[in-house]
Amino acid sequence: MVTVLVPQSLRTLTDGEAVLTAEGHNIRAVIRDLAPRYPDLAERLVNGDRIGRGLSLAINGDVVSTGLITKVPEGAEISIVPQISGGVS
């Protein structure tokens, strides 16, 4: 089982839930596991074969760089954060 931490701005997509639990060996699988319960959040988190626009995911504090196929260790905490764009866009 892994924990997904939902920031305030995205809780409109989870009926106000801040902490979700899910199963899955990688990011894609975790999002698939969330989809039946939180379809709006799942849709927001995926953009084709990438993580949703303007978002980054962090596993135990490290922002993932290998997208949806990034492995998720058992017991991990996944944070959803805005992309650290550094104002380059």
Partner: protein, 767 residues
């Protein structure tokens, strides 16, 4: 090894042979003899010179552009406008530290229907000589329908404000958008706990508003871009950039080329600080080259750099913070409105996530707004967004400490984030050096000393920056004499050839002088992200480590082949001795690295090591700065008397260049604190677009800056590296503000805290 200074290694790096020493940088001689080739130094046969025509208005609709007279001028070979580019798709492209909308990227390179800031490019000319190109600009006739400019972030957010983009609606992080068009491009919010409960628990609550000016990266080398579009459809670009691959991946879609048709050669770069990630001139040079069939070089002058290339955001910020009398911070409410410039994409998200990160505060609410205004599109600038946001939060924290009568470092220690704490953005901390920096500052000779004299004061502040990892590549071959050329894709802005080569040398057990690092073009190395985000020594070093491990493995296999034994029985030691099993006579068999290198050619061929890494465990950076100032009450001028910068570097690979990053960051932070500002009149005309009036610190404005390197190794890196480049720009402004308050009792609320601002504040204070 030639060492720069005979300083001993730190006790944390004593275990290493190369890491922690101070070798002469590999590219040093070229840079002290004038031989190093920067972008503007390039000359090609038949090369044309180009110039860019820029808007005199901050906000206007382009009615028409007539280039016929310019085209008729003798020596002019081509004139282009936005209409000459293929229509850009409404698609996102990777821009190094984020993504950008392709249409806006093109519109910023050269305006289509509207100009959105003074200096916005509207046409470009290629001619046989730059004097002729400049003359031609005066012959281009542009008719404008001038519109009301929007110059202040708060004005821009008001309903009914003139709109920069009719199609722009406010985006929330959850994907929803506002019904009506707005200058506010996006809003984000982070919360933790309940701030109302938190403020109710507080004994003291302070609320402050702050305004900060746009500030420029101020690299001494203006932007440049040279292109040669060959008849076979391939495009060569030479430019001073922080990321050759980002230039390739920005230019190719703008010109509807395959990335394979575009080769970008990064020239030596004269400073960047984030500002040399976006493309400005490269697409224009490319199209001018296509039109003329000749290489075209475009360069900016300083006025163009200040008018039209990315500064960091000006802001309006409001912070409310509450604490108990024992110093516990119970709640913080942070409101950040950042100017993005003409197109969306300010660093407000990063600023929001950094703003309270050094502290474990139970109840937090942070709101961030990204707002377009009629000023140049902002670009990344050293820890983008953090210097502004942490100026606001650190300043209020210092005032809280003052009000409850607690030592400001003690108060920080009481609330400091430690391993396992989670920020409001939901990011948990691993092993960090936050407390270690604060403690080292407390123990420093500076903090332990007394400061005496009238109008003098001392201030302290903390800084936090994420650091990033991402993709880096390295190739290295082993020559017969045991030297190792190392091929890299990371532009070297501040000595990263050396810091990466040192990690390869350490891993191979050889001298840093035997490694020869080279920065090459996009066809000659694997994908490498920008030199930015304090990632280069971290990720490039990791690539070098893996590249060296690849070489070690191949050397073991080769030795096994020579000795006719199993590769598993051969070991490559950290002393660069390759040891095998005893021979038939029972004698030990071993090669030094150089011995085996000498036999490679005749024992099966040469060896190439390679690595491509994509790492995330970059390890955040913290810093604590202490400053003493003296304020002249008659002129408002602030002199920096003494400065100490403490920073966790993880492991300082080349301590002299770590110190250099810390000192350089302080200098830029002091500039932001005291002098540097964009001064616009009501029409949106930038009145100080020169280095005389945009006042960056000189050698005379600064004292020696004492660096104290703390080393809390990053467990997410083979040598414990954390990025060091960005965090030192963050603490100077709030530390200087606290020192001014300590000196004259006035709490400033704007950046820069220029003589004018200080006189305004002190005169008002007396009224």
């Amino acid at each position: 090894m030639v060492t720069a200074q005979s300083q001993p290694q730190s006790k944390e790096t004593e275990q290493y042979n190369v890491i922690g020493t101070r070798p002469i940088r590999h590219d040093g001689v070229d840079k002290v003899t004038g031989a190093a080739q920067y972008g503007a130094d390039l000359s090609l046969p038949g090369m044309l010179a180009g110039r860019v025509l820029r808007s005199p208005h901050a906000h206007a609709r382009i009615v028409s552009i007539d280039t016929s007279k310019a085209e008729a001028l003798d020596g002019v070979k081509a004139v282009i406008t936005n209409a000459d580019f293929p229509r850009a798709a409404d698609a996102e492209i990777d821009t190094g530290e984020g993504t950008a909308n392709l249409r806006w990227v093109l519109d910023n390179v050269i305006a289509s229907d509207k100009v959105l800031y003074k200096g916005h490019a509207v046409a470009a000319v290629a001619a046989t000589d730059h004097h002729i190109a400049e003359d031609a600009l005066e012959l281009i006739e542009v008719k404008y329908d001038v519109l009301t400019p929007v110059l202040d972030v708060r004005d821009a957010m008001v309903d009914g404000s003139p709109l920069l983009h009719d199609s722009l609606h406010t985006k929330e992080l959850d994907g929803s958008t506002s019904d009506s068009a707005s200058n506010t491009a996006s809003h984000l919010q982070f919360t933790k706990g309940d701030t109302e409960d938190g403020f109710a628990e507080a004994d003291v609550v302070i609320e402050r508003e702050f305004e900060t000016s746009m500030a420029h990266q101020g690299y001494i080398e203006p932007h440049n871009g040279t292109a040669y579009w060959r008849a076979d459809g391939t495009l060569d670009i030479w430019t001073s950039t922080q990321g050759a691959f980002v230039v390739r991946d920005s230019v190719a879609p703008l010109l509807q080329l395959s990335p394979s048709q575009v080769k970008v050669t990064p020239m030596e770069i004269g400073g960047g600080f984030g500002g040399k990630i976006p493309v400005y001139l490269e697409p224009l040079a490319a199209l001018l080259s296509q039109k003329t069939g000749r290489p075209v070089k475009l360069t900016m002058n300083r006025e163009e750099v200040l008018l039209a290339t990315g500064p960091t955001s000006g802001t309006y910020m409001r912070v409310r913070m509450g604490a108990k009398n024992d110093g516990t911070i119970t709640a913080a409410d942070v409101h950040l409105a950042f100017e993005a410039g003409a197109y969306p994409g300010s660093p407000v998200g990063a600023g929001a996530m950094c703003s309270l990160a050094p502290y474990d505060i139970a109840n937090q609410k942070i709101d961030g707004y990204d707002v377009v205004v009629n000023k140049p599109k902002t670009a990344a600038y050293r820890a983008p967004g953090a210097p502004q946001a942490e100026f606001a939060t650190e300043s209020v924290l210092n005032e809280l400490a003052e009000q409850i009568g607690q030592d400001p470092l003690e108060m920080r220690l009481k609330n400091a984030s430690v391993e396992g704490n989670t920020t409001a953005a939901g990011m948990p901390f691993g092993v960090i050096g936050n407390v270690e920096c604060m403690t080292a500052a407390q123990e420093s000779p500076h903090w332990q000393s007394e400061l005496e004299g009238p109008n003098r004061g001392r201030g302290v502040a903390q800084g936090f920056w994420f650091n990033i990892g991402f993709e880096s590549s390295a190739y290295a071959q082993v020559n017969g004499d045991g030297t190792v050329p190392l091929v890299l894709g990371s532009t070297d802005i501040g000595g990263t050839r050396a810091s990466i080569a040192m990690q390869l040398a350490e891993t191979l057990g050889i001298s840093s002088d035997d490694v020869h690092p080279h920065v090459v073009d996009t066809n000659s190395v694997g994908y490498t992200q920008v030199t930015g985000g304090s990632r280069t020594t971290f990720a490039g070093g990791w690539a070098a480590y893996e590249c060296a491990m690849d070489i070690r493995k191949q050397m073991e296999q080769r030795a096994a082949q020579v000795w006719e034994c199993e590769a598993d029985d051969v070991t490559y030691g950290d002393d660069a001795i390759i040891r095998g099993p005893a021979d038939e006579d029972g004698n030990d068999r071993q090669f030094t690295f150089k011995e085996l290198a000498g036999q490679l050619a005749t024992s099966g061929g040469h060896i190439v090591g390679r690595a491509d890494v994509n790492k995330t465990s970059s390890g955040p950076a913290f810093a604590t700065h202490i400053v003493d100032v003296e304020v002249d009450p008659d002129t408002g001028k602030v002199d920096i008397l003494r400065y100490t910068a403490v920073q966790d570097a993880g492991t300082a690979i080349h301590p002299a260049y770590v110190e250099g990053q810390m000192q350089g960051g302080v200098a830029q932070g002091v500039g932001m604190a005291l002098n540097e500002e964009y001064f616009y009149d009501d029409s949106g005309d930038l009145k100080n677009a020169s280095l005389l009036d945009y006042r960056m610190p000189t050698a005379l404005d600064l004292p020696m800056i004492e660096p104290i390197i703390v080393e809390v190794p990053n467990p997410g890196h083979p040598y414990g590296v954390r990025g060091v480049g960005e965090v030192p720009i963050i603490p100077p402004a709030p530390a200087v503000r606290a020192a001014i308050a300590n000196a004259i009792g006035v709490h400033m609320t704007e950046l820069p805290m220029s003589p004018r601002a200080i006189l305004d504040a002190t005169v008002l204070d007396e009224d």
